[in-house]
Amino acid sequence: MKKTLILAGALIAALAMPSGAALAAGDYVKPPRHSWSFSGPFGTFDREQLQRGFLVFRQACASCHGLEYVSFRNLAEPGGPEFTPGQVEALAADFRIQDGPDSSGEMFERPGEIADRWPNPFRNKQEAAAANAGKAPPDLSVMAKARTFERGFPWFITDMFTQYTENGVDYINAFLQGYVDPPEDLDILAGNHFNLYYPGQIVAMPNVLFDGAISYTPEGSDRPVAPETVAQYAEDVTAFLMWTAEPHLEQRKRIGFQVMLFLLVFAGLLYFTKKKIWGRLGEDGAPEYRA
């Protein structure tokens, strides 16, 4: 039995193929590994970090990128940045949302409500592309799950046991800090930029993060709650994007632990039940037949 179980395990291990194998061709540097509060079986988001990440998103990204699947109300829900309902209502009211048609058939604008989705910065893809060297900035709602990088053999196998699933966030975090001077012999068209980690290394998004550009100092205080550095901004906004991509991550891991624990105990009980039942067998077979 032990042998068969080991074999089965090995087969499962070997059959599960690299999900990262699909990454684009072209030069790029593999992103360094970062440590995240939400990684591993007991990972949770750091509320403060998500709130700072939202601030970065709003100030540095929202002018180009949408968050199509995020509603204002989500920002107050458990497992996320957990702003207070009052804060979120005030935030939503800052936006003008087009609605309608009203009873006379006219479209109208009204202040945002918490049930509204995060508004797109552009009216459509064409406008978005026209404003950005021909490349529309992608929606960021599920971005943290929509990017990865190749892990290669044997890491794609060991990842299964170490639960490394932060490919997407490691990439985004590196990408946001990956704007360096291009090699001298490289010709870059206007509106394009050099980024170490972007597949192909020429990207239409400019560098948007600069040391000190976003204030982490709360009102009425004279000290920032976290370093106002590019590295910190990148980490915070990336963690925020992990939450937008996987808003139920905390619930998932919490329930997961309960389920695993239950199944382990249940399996243990079944094992002894099985041993007991099979122990009844003698040389002359099952007692059920002896009657």
Partner: protein, 423 residues
């Protein structure tokens, strides 16, 4: 079979009434309670029950998903996101369904390699085996169409690549592809029909599974020795012996499933499928789900497109002819020292093809894919037919109970010589 199982006798008045009109309790009793199984089955024999559970899990989670999913090219992606975010436990249903599909294939491949090793496809179980191959084909079609439903980049381009395979068929190829698409490219009509078929096929699988179980219960289970059940002493009743063992094994299997569902739910998928389908952007690597990779590698190993497609389908179809390609009359690989080596070689060939299927089709990868493709087919057309004729099998035990008792150390005389098995 020589064993006679106790038959069901209805006790209550209601059961008597029903049983004399539709003997369904008796049928269930004889199939899943009294049904005698060899007492020496190892854990490889629990995967059938695991597969049953997985099929039910897929159907239940699938029906719940279908209540919230919208099969339209403009809305499919966002309806899946709606499931993930706004539907209570929608993320759980979707992750169970997506990872369940992968684990379903893990189970079916283990189940099949078990059959390959112990010769379970040999007489009198040919029909049982062929029904299994049909189930595999239906599962592949179901999973392929299911993967198209979230309408991400890999959905769209996977569907384009795979349906395009049919265009290599001479004369009618293009017509067939247009028919599959319901238009001149993969689009909304394609998504609609795939959804309809994805809902239908699992129930067809269910039907074939019933036939599969029926075909199993006529000759009964094979077992690790491969020799036939001779007396009652060789067997145990299905309940409670197998029910408790299957439940134990299935619990461990579900534990593994949960590891993925709760902790790494996107590991077995592709990041690209979280990018909405875009017909104007081709992903640089179009890779199918892992369970198709060995066949995908065979497809790409062959330079000619038509021959590649033929080889890919042949790689699955050849399984149906296995009972007649394997000439050995000894069933179990345990008594076939040389076959054993070739069996493990075949396992390695499949894993290798799986790896190559995920790699780009260039350079050394292609050379290796060709070598392994040749080895894959050689296993069926050269090694198995010849081994049966050339190999000298080890001595078989006289009976199943003897082999069990010998293993547990009560030393009984060893079977005299390798004699052909009564088929």
């Amino acid at each position: 079979m020589s064993t006679h199982s106790p038959t069901y006798v209805p006790k209550s008045a209601g059961a008597k009434w029903l049983e004399s009109r539709l003997p369904i309790i008796g049928l269930v009793h004889s199939s899943f309670v009294a049904y005698p199984v060899p007492r020496n089955l190892n854990y490889m024999w629990t995967f059938g029950a695991i597969l049953m559970i997985m099929l039910v899990l897929q159907i239940v989670t699938g029906i719940v998903l279908a209540m919230h999913y919208t099969p339209h090219a403009d809305m499919a992606f966002s309806s899946v996101e709606h499931i993930m975010r706004n539907v209570e436990y929608g993320w759980l249903m979707r992750y169970l369904h997506a990872n369940g599909a992968s684990m379903f294939f893990v189970a079916v491949y283990i189940h099949m390699f078990r059959g390959l090793y112990y010769g379970s496809y040999k007489a009198p179980r040919e029909v049982l085996w062929i029904l299994g191959v049909i189930i595999l084909l239906l599962m592949m079609a179901t999973a392929f169409m299911g993967y198209v439903l979230p309408w991400g980049q890999m959905s769209y381009w996977g569907a384009t690549v795979i349906t395009n395979l049919f265009s290599v068929i001479p004369v009618v190829g293009d017509t067939i592809v247009t028919f599959l698409w319901g238009g001149y490219s993969v689009g909304n009509p394609t998504l609609n029909r795939f959804f309809s078929l994805h809902y239908l096929l699992p129930f067809m699988i269910f039907g074939v599974v019933l036939l599969h179980v029926w075909a199993l219960h006529v000759p009964g289970n094979n077992n690790p020795t491969g020799i036939d059940v001779k007396t009652k002493k060789d067997t145990v009743p299905f309940h409670p012996y197998m029910t408790v063992k299957d439940t134990f094994s299935a619990t461990l299997f579900i534990l593994v499933l949960c590891w993925f569902v709760f902790y790494m739910p996107n590991y077995m998928g592709h990041a690209d499928n979280y990018v909405p389908a875009d017909p104007s952007i081709t992903p640089s690597h179009i890779v199918p789900e892992w369970y198709f990779l060995p066949f995908y590698a065979i497809l790409r190993a062959i330079p000619n497109a038509l021959l590649g497609v033929i080889a890919m389908f042949a790689a699955i179809a050849v399984l149906a002819f296995l009972p007649w390609l394997d000439t050995s009359r000894v069933r179990s690989g345990s008594y076939r020292p040389i076959f054993k080596l070739f069996f493990w070689l075949f396992v390695v060939v499949n894993l290798g093809l799986g790896y190559l299927g995920a790699m780009p089709a260039e350079g050394a990868y292609v050379i290796w894919a060709r070598i392994l493709t040749i080895l894959y087919f050689a296993h069926f057309f050269v090694f198995l037919p010849l081994l049966g004729l050339l190999e000298k099998p080890k001595a078989l035990p006289n009976s199943i109970s003897e082999s069990v008792l010998k293993k547990s150390g009560s030393g009984m005389p060893q079977g005299a010589a390798a004699k052909p098995q009564d088929a």
